[in-house]
């Protein structure tokens, strides 16, 4: 057990990485999931297959990509396929066991909004949109979600259903003819959540070290349900922390170092 201090963000990434196994074929969503997936690969799951939507299959980047199409993803991949092949054969074809997504807005049934804040046709804030997520959410065997908890991010009702989770809960997926499991795990900076087997509402089953129930509720826009026996997430090991910090340091150095070509027209 490490006595090293760690941040909530580091705990989130490491807890998320632990959910992945060596045998998984993981479709890595843009943003937060990328760090978790690569920490898993660099620690307990060296043979995990990481897929990014740019068509890179079985990639093993030394630094975290800034975009989902950085060159290193291609250079280290087992193979790189075209984007239509990616979505048709590999995702729609059922080859992906886990889709790992981030979220701008999330509700208690794992529905995700990354499209707009406000009305779609007259948005208050126009977000980037869904990209690959709408089909990742329904074609992957199951979905893991990771995000930092905020009152703006975790809301009772999302403004737009970019990616379908469990809809209104219960058997809503089955009723739409969706045969995959949908969201089965949510890892935040404060806790680990799983859907209730019947209602499908996300339920806290593990608090990160030093986090209270009140902390979780204060940073969540819906009334939080807690499991009857709450676990405490094991704190990061020295190896996990070192792996994550080294990865972040390499990433920062790489992205800053690339900036010299712009001075003439910045």
């Amino acid at each position: 057990m490490s006595a090293t201090a760690f941040t909530p963000d580091e705990m989130m990434t490491i807890a998320a990485s632990r959910a992945l196994t060596n045998d998984d074929v993981c479709f890595v969503g843009i943003g937060a999931p990328s760090a978790a997936c690569n920490v898993a690969r660099l620690t307990h799951a060296p043979d995990i297959t990481l897929i990014y939507e740019s068509g890179t299959i079985g990639t093993a980047p030394d630094v975290l990509p800034l975009s989902i199409g950085d060159g290193e993803l291609c250079e280290t991949a087992v193979t790189t396929v075209s984007v239509p092949e990616m979505f048709r054969y590999w995702l729609q074809g059922g080859r992906v066991s886990i889709g790992f997504l981030g979220a701008a807005q999330l509700d208690k049934f794992g529905n995700i909004n990354t499209t707009v804040i406000g009305d779609y046709h007259h948005p208050k804030t126009r977000l980037p949109g869904g990209g690959g997520a709408p089909e990742i959410a329904t074609s992957s065997g199951e979905i893991f979600i990771t995000m930092k908890q905020t009152l703006r991010g975790m809301v009772e009702k999302i403004d737009f259903y970019t990616s379908f989770g469990h809809g209104d809960g219960g058997d809503h997926r089955e009723r739409l003819g969706i045969t995959t499991k949908g969201p089965t795990l949510l890892i935040t900076d404060l806790a680990i959540w799983r859907p209730d087997p019947v209602s499908k509402e996300f339920t806290v089953f593990s608090l990160h070290p030093g986090v209270s129930r009140e902390d979780v509720q204060k940073n969540c826009g819906w009334v939080v349900t807690f499991a009857s026996t709450l676990e405490v997430t094991p704190e990061p090991t020295a190896l996990e922390l070192k792996t994550l910090r080294d990865l972040k340091a390499r990433t920062q150095a790489a992205h800053e170092g690339a900036g010299k070509g712009v001075s003439s027209h910045g």
Binding site: I30, E53, S54, G55, T56, P65, L66, S67, I68, G69, D70, G71, L73, C74, T80, S82, V83, P84, F87, R88, L91, Q92, T115, Y120, H121, P123, K124, T125, R126, L127, P128, G129, G130, G131, G132, A133, P134, E135, T138, S139, F160, Y161, T162, S163, F164, G167, H172, L176, G177, I178, H255, E256, A258, G259, K260, G261, V262, S264, H265, G266
Partner: protein, 285 residues
């Protein structure tokens, strides 16, 4: 049959006001030089198609060239939002922008349908997704064999597609390597196509037989523009200029700063300037 032309002429010959145009590239090989030439030529009333409209569509939209955008992810990749596109959607500045929004799976399938000569694309998608309720071009179709309900979207058929590629040979065949994205489909779906390349080589004799090649009779015009994908990258030639993407977030945040930047770096620049911009990003041998 591919004609080698200076970029100014290739754009002037192939892009007209009111066209439906795709400048494609999936993070990699984004045809910035061609888009900047289109901006200098002041084309108007365009329908811009792209899966991942990023900086270059932010620039075209901010310059008032587009009536409509068809897309599936409108972000500055790895950085955040597109501020000029947002200003157009949220505040109609400098003019209103209609949007037709899809998922990546839908756009990829729709390009493939266009390249295949089909009127529509059929795929398993949009289940429970809000886009199906706000985009009238997302419909469904029943499989006549199994009865399964599947998503259907119209094929994409651009008037003209622009892409950037690593190289052409002297005959005019084009090679795309690395993350090949949607470029082949976008070219084959279009009525005309313009390709900017890093260089022209004698032949492709040393190229792997399964490489992604667009034969010369699928390409309308080729222009040699070294660095023409900057600030995106050309695999094997130069790296992605991540700092430029980060800087764009600040430049595009302010209308005046945006216009000043466009004046300095696009309106008063030339295709040849791209070579200098990648000088410090060149891949190590």
């Amino acid at each position: 049959m591919a004609q080698f032309l200076p970029l100014q002429q290739a754009v002037a010959d192939n892009l007209n006001d009111g066209d439906t145009v795709a400048f494609e590239g999936f993070t990699h090989l984004i045809p910035h030089a061609a888009a900047h030439e289109a901006i200098r030529q002041g084309r108007r009333n365009l329908t811009l198609i792209r899966m991942t409209p990023d900086i270059v569509y932010d620039q075209m939209i901010g310059m008032g060239m587009a009536d409509k955008a068809v897309f599936s992810y409108a972000g500055n990749p790895g950085v955040g939002l597109l501020r000029r596109l947002r200003d157009a959607v949220e505040n109609s500045w400098p003019q209103p922008l209609a949007i037709e929004e899809h998922s990546h799976a839908a756009m990829a399938n729709a390009y493939e349908a266009g390249a295949s000569g089909l009127p529509l694309a059929v795929f398993r998608g949009y289940r429970g997704a809000g886009l199906a309720e706000v985009n009238p071009n997302i419909k469904s179709i029943l499989c006549p064999f199994t009865g399964e309900k599947l998503a259907a979207v119209p094929a994409l058929r651009p008037d003209v597609t622009f892409i950037h590629a690593q190289k052409a040979n002297k005959r005019g065949d084009v090679l795309v390597e690395g993350i090949i994205g949607i470029q082949k489909e976008a070219v084959l779906a279009a009525r005309r196509s313009v390709v900017t390349v890093e260089e022209v080589v004698d032949n492709f004799d040393d190229i792997h037989p399964n490489a992604c090649i667009l034969p010369r009779w699928t390409v309308t015009a080729i222009s040699v523009v070294p660095g023409g994908a900057h600030p995106s990258y050309a695999h094997g030639y130069y790296d992605r200029d991540n700092a430029a993407y980060l800087q764009w977030d600040e430049i595009a945040a302010d209308r005046d700063r945006f216009q000043a930047w466009m004046s300095d770096n696009v309106l008063n620049a030339r295709p040849d300037d791209f070579a200098d911009r990648v000088q410090n990003l060149r891949s190590k041998p």
